[in-house]
């Protein structure tokens, strides 16, 4: 969706994004940085989800499974075998891919809502298994990441700036991956599958296999996000990283922003995470205010513009429908 950025304005937009992205690093405000890091994390997770849920159009509500696998894997290998989370991250990604294949093979042939429920059910089964693995994984209480204070090679640092920069890099990479997929043959094929699966089959697209690939890529990316989270908060537990809420929120962020688009997931996170924080502070600690906001915004967006924020913004900036849809390439 480069449509908002005209070719002649592109350097200007690029510079603006760069400035906005780097600004928080100079604030010195740890609280602000914390929110910024979480916003970037969710942007990253939404971008990861986008590969399967947006571009391939498979509404997965169980991505918490992959997030949790990533968080637990890197943490376990770090605590028990001293392997740096930078390496453990890849182990987590590999395990998540295996999980994605298992889940995918048993559910990708299901239609819309059944697929969504099957992914949710799978994630919940995994959560129960982890909760019951007291000896191996710490059970419901979870595991703590050994505090090392400043140890960048072990993916830890005391200042939030460290995590902010890494998160920024992750988001940039995720955007890049989405971008490459969208302009490639694979991206067109996924869009075809999303629109009309039978017609895609008839034109030679190996639909099941390609959906599975999308699931695998998405799972691996999400797992890496899980490792980041584990290293940021230095603690993992079934509730925090395998919870059903998380899986739903990731999907919601991407959908509100505009699923299947390049910048939708980022916009979704930019809108929702700070709002959530504001809702929390302004509601005077009213329980659940942030989630209520998510639910409300989701309903509003689906009501007014199911294609999400990206499309709403494009309408405000006056692009015609025709131009918008083509500049996005093989997306909505």
């Amino acid at each position: 969706m480069m449509a908002v950025q005209d070719s002649k304005n592109r350097p200007l937009w690029g510079a603006l994004i760069l400035v906005v992205a780097i600004a928080p690093l100079f604030s010195g405000n740890q609280y602000l940085l914390s929110i910024a890091v979480m916003t970037l994390l969710y942007a990253y997770l939404a971008l990861s989800w986008n590969v399967l849920g947006g571009i391939a159009g498979q509404l997965s509500l169980g991505h918490s499974a992959y997030f949790g696998i990533g968080a637990y894997a890197s943490t376990w290998f770090f605590i028990h075998m001293g392997i740096s989370p930078w390496i453990g991250m890849w182990i987590g990604a590999a395990l998540a891919v295996v999980a994605a294949v298992i889940v995918g093979m048993s559910s990708l042939h299901l239609r819309g809502a059944y697929y969504a429920l099957a992914t949710l059910a799978s994630a919940m089964v995994l959560k129960t298994l982890v909760e019951n693995a007291d000896d191996l994984l710490g059970g419901p209480r979870g595991m703590e990441v050994t505090l090392l204070r400043n140890a960048p090679w072990q993916f830890q640092y005391t200042s939030k700036e460290f995590y902010y920069v890494i998160a920024l890099v992750f988001v940039a990479l995720a955007v890049f991956i989405n971008w490459r997929i969208l302009r490639s043959r694979y991206g067109y094929y996924l869009a075809a599958v999303r629109n009309e699966q039978d017609a895609a089959l008839a034109l030679g697209v190996p639909t099941t296999r390609y959906k599975l690939y999308a699931a695998m890529i998405s799972a691996a990316m999400t797992a890496i996000g899980g490792t980041f989270y584990a290293q940021f908060v230095l603690f993992v537990s079934p509730d925090k990283v395998f919870g059903a809420n998380l899986g739903v929120v990731i999907a919601v962020v991407c959908i509100i922003g505009g699923r299947g688009t390049l910048w939708g997931p980022v916009l979704g996170a930019l809108l929702l995470l700070p709002s959530e924080e504001l809702a929390r502070s302004f509601s005077g600690g009213m329980l659940g205010a942030d989630m209520m906001l998510y639910g409300l915004l989701l309903m509003l967006v689906i009501w007014y513009e199911p294609r999400g924020l990206v499309t709403i913004l494009q309408r405000w900036f006056g692009r015609s429908d025709r131009q918008r849809l083509t500049k996005q390439g093989a997306t909505q």
Partner: protein, 243 residues
Amino acid sequence: MTTNTLLEFKGVGKSFGGLRAIDNVSFTVNEGEIVGLIGPNGAGKTTLFSMASGFLEPTDGQIIFQGTRIDGLNPPRICRAGLVRTFQIVKPFGEMTVIENAMVGAFLHHARPEDAREVAAGVLRQVGLGGREEQVAKTLTLSGRKRLEVAKALATHPKLLLLDEVMAGLTTVEVSEMLELIHSLRASGVSILVIEHNMKAVMNLSNKIVVIQYGKKIAEGAPAEVANDPQVISAYLGGEHAA
């Protein structure tokens, strides 16, 4: 046989539970031919298409394409072998543009998006959709969608094209445009098997006509022959009319 046999149905049968939808159907499509497949509604014509293109598996018999058995193979493999089908109820990739639709077909043999786009543009010109490349597919008229359906299939460089009621719902002018298109396709080397209810169109197009009723073949031959076959006439008097 002096001409090459491209597609052969050999004693093909299909049962759905207790229902015998297709029974012992055999015929061939030769290279360079346009074969018309006609018959009353519900006779099983689309079922034959689905079996040939891999969407259904025959219960008995064989389907042979260019000398190799294809019955039971999946649609992408058959498509890659050079046999492509269109759908009776057209299935455009609605949210994508016209050219993107055609590109999906073109990608089969052209991995790079630039190449696929070029091939797609060419195919669109061939079917008369040149100039509409950037239009969103779901906004096309029925005639446009039918052409797009042909374009998508054409972009895969098929040897054999299965056209399922591609004239249904078109005006007389649009029908003759489509006829021209199909003739030009054959001239460019694509063999075609058409299902049609429009009798004039079928007679115009086909080298050979196969008539299916209640899942069985009841006639096969040159258009004039078949048109005068008493069995065919009685099959139609009970049901369909020429468009």
